[in-house]
């Protein structure tokens, strides 16, 4: 459904020196810099896939989404979405896609969401019966049936995002671009939106591209992750494979049996192999090399009164940070 080959985008950016003098100088003589936001990127996304697009700020995620949604023209390369060239902006293409940007509102600020939905019905030429049915299903799924007649500006951030989701999905798009859909939301709202996205995918089977800085979004929603750095793909594959291939550590958590460690509790295990992440006297969490995980687990079982022991992968954010060269080296 989505296919990009050699997609590149270069922006010409004016570099101004700081301060007033820098502004005055730039009035007469400007320094320009070429910023390569995308560098010959290849990508394929099929129906029913939710692909997580991950990278640091400025990695090119949003530029990629905007090129595939037809908002900006690439400098070079080709792309097809549902058989259309996105930046030609044919109505046949635009009727089948949706774009949701967590940092930009599409609904009218001073009007109830219900009014905005009526406008979208007209824009997408949704038959009245289908519109009513879709709206009822979406509003029920997001639990906002009683908020449809309240002005957008009077809704909470979470409720506004839910309305934005409804606005984007009323016409049952086959390709959905989600750019930071949970940004700024509280945990309950984030969870509700994630559940809703999964439910929507199950029912409608669209191709979805999700960008998010919240690793929980990626873990809960995406089977496949595309990691970007400086406009290039660093990794494109299953989330699980990325973790097993690139994580160098495992996390061991041991819960200790109460009453068997003496009146002062057990001594802090400073000599334990690996890095101590948590130590409370009742539990111990260690980060160890993957190769040593089994040996360390055995050591813990012999040394401490362990009631329960678990061995987990490193969290995905740490793995990604390491792959992007920002965190501890993998």
């Amino acid at each position: 459904m989505i296919r990009a080959r050699g997609l590149s985008k270069t922006f010409r950016v004016h570099r101004k020196e700081p301060g007033l003098m820098g502004s005055v100088r730039s009035l007469f003589s400007r320094k320009w810099q070429q910023v390569h936001a995308l560098k010959g990127l290849d990508l394929d996304v099929g129906a029913g896939e939710i692909v997580g697009l991950v990278g640091a700020n400025g990695a090119g995620k949003t530029t990629l989404v905007k090129a595939l949604a037809g908002i900006i023209h690439p400098t070079s390369g080709t792309a097809e979405v549902l058989g259309f060239v996105p930046w030609q902006r044919k109505n046949g293409f635009r009727k089948q896609i949706a774009l949701i940007m967590g940092q930009k509102a599409q609904l009218w600020w001073d009007l109830p969401a219900g009014d905005g939905f009526l406008l979208l019905r007209e824009i997408y030429q949704i038959p009245n019966d289908t519109f009513k049915a879709n709206l009822a299903v979406l509003a029920a799924a997001l639990r906002v049936e009683d908020k449809l007649n309240i002005q957008i500006r009077r809704l909470s951030l979470g409720e506004r995002m839910k309305m934005e989701l409804i606005a984007a999905l009323l016409h049952q798009p086959r390709v959905v671009f989600l750019d930071e859909p949970t940004i700024g939301l509280d945990l309950a709202a984030q969870r509700a939106i994630r559940e809703f996205i999964l439910e929507y995918r199950r029912k409608e089977n669209p191709a979805m591209i999700l960008t998010s800085h919240y690793m929980e979004d990626i873990e809960k929603l995406c089977e496949r992750i595309v990691l970007m750095r400086d406009g290039e793909l660093v990794y494109d594959g299953p989330v699980a494979k990325m973790v097993s291939s690139f994580a160098r550590h495992k996390v061991l958590t041991a819960h200790l049996r109460a009453g068997e460690t003496g009146p002062d509790g057990p001594a802090r295990p400073d000599s334990a192999p690996g890095e101590i992440l948590e130590w409370s006297g009742a539990s111990l969490k260690l980060k160890v090399d993957r190769a040593q995980a089994a040996a360390v687990a055995s050591h813990l079982l012999q040394t401490y009164p362990v009631a329960d022991l678990s061995i987990d992968e490193e969290d995905i954010g740490t793995v990604i940070e390491a792959m992007l060269g920002k965190g501890p080296s993998p």
């Binding site: 400025g58 949003t62 908002i71 023209h73 902006r89 009007l111």
Partner: protein, 262 residues
């Protein structure tokens, strides 16, 4: 076509609902435009204390012209001005994104989304002034002559809109549009004067490349001095050329649009 009319109906309903939410702002804007009308009428009254003719027109004929440009101004203020005013900001902030992914003409959406309800009230006042000026004139009124004048004023408003948009479209490359608005509003002052007061290359420019004299002066001339087919053909040709130029710049601008970082 019907779909676009229905869409425009939604834009009007939403805009009116929103405008009525802010009552003081609504009436303040009405008052502001009425003050502008009053100043224009007073200005010409003062001029005619000094001279019997202006650009070949007497006081009553000039009032007919002045009422015409007030109508053109009120139409553009009602239909497109709010939209065009915020257009450069939308380009600069990347707010065009949602407009570009909708399966409707982006130009239609961006130009007409915000209907200025307060200015619509002023349009009614301008039409009242227009009727008063026509009644005062010595020209015999027929359905044909008044309809032609009204139709040409609407085309004049369309010209006004196209010129405004063409002048602010470079914002796609410049990223800031406040100076562009300033250029347009300075130039649009030419619309408020009878065309024959201008001569030489200034006049040539004002009836061709920068057709501000076609917006209100030519329609008034046709009404006051009779229909001339060569002038009408020139008027329509300028509209067609300007529309083509607008589309070319618009498409080039969309290609250059870089949105904004999130």
């Amino acid at each position: 076509m019907l779909r676009y009319l229905r869409l425009y109906g939604h834009f009007m309903r939403f805009s009116i609902s929103r405008a009525l939410e802010f009552r003081i702002d609504f009436f303040f804007r009405v008052f502001m435009d009425l003050a502008y009308y009053g100043i224009q009428i007073a200005f010409y009254q003062v001029i005619f204390l000094q001279t019997p003719l202006l650009g070949g027109w007497n006081r009553d004929q000039t009032l007919v012209f002045m009422a015409g440009f007030l109508v053109v101004d009120a139409i553009t203020m009602t239909v497109v001005s709010n939209n065009l005013w915020f257009f450069p900001v939308a380009v600069n902030r990347g707010d065009l994104d949602y407009y570009l992914v909708r399966p409707v003409s982006s130009l239609f959406f961006l130009s007409l989304r915000d209907f200025a309800a307060n200015s619509f009230l002023n349009l009614l006042f301008a039409m009242g002034i227009f009727a008063w000026a026509l009644a005062r004139s010595s020209i015999p009124l027929t359905v044909g002559s008044v309809s032609l004048y009204a139709a040409m004023l609407m085309l004049g408003a369309f010209l006004h809109y196209m010129m405004h948009l063409i002048i602010i479209l470079p914002v796609f490359w410049l990223q800031s549009g406040s100076g562009l608005h300033g250029i347009f509003y300075s130039m649009s002052r030419f619309m408020e004067r009878p065309d024959r007061i201008f001569t030489g290359w200034v006049r040539k420019a004002l009836v061709t490349a920068f057709p501000f004299c076609l917006m209100a002066s030519f329609p008034a001339r046709m009404f006051l001095e009779g229909l001339r087919w060569d002038v009408l053909a020139h008027f329509m040709a300028v509209i067609a050329v300007l529309f083509a130029v607008l589309l070319v710049i618009w498409n080039a601008g969309l290609k250059a649009y870089s949105s904004a970082s999130s």
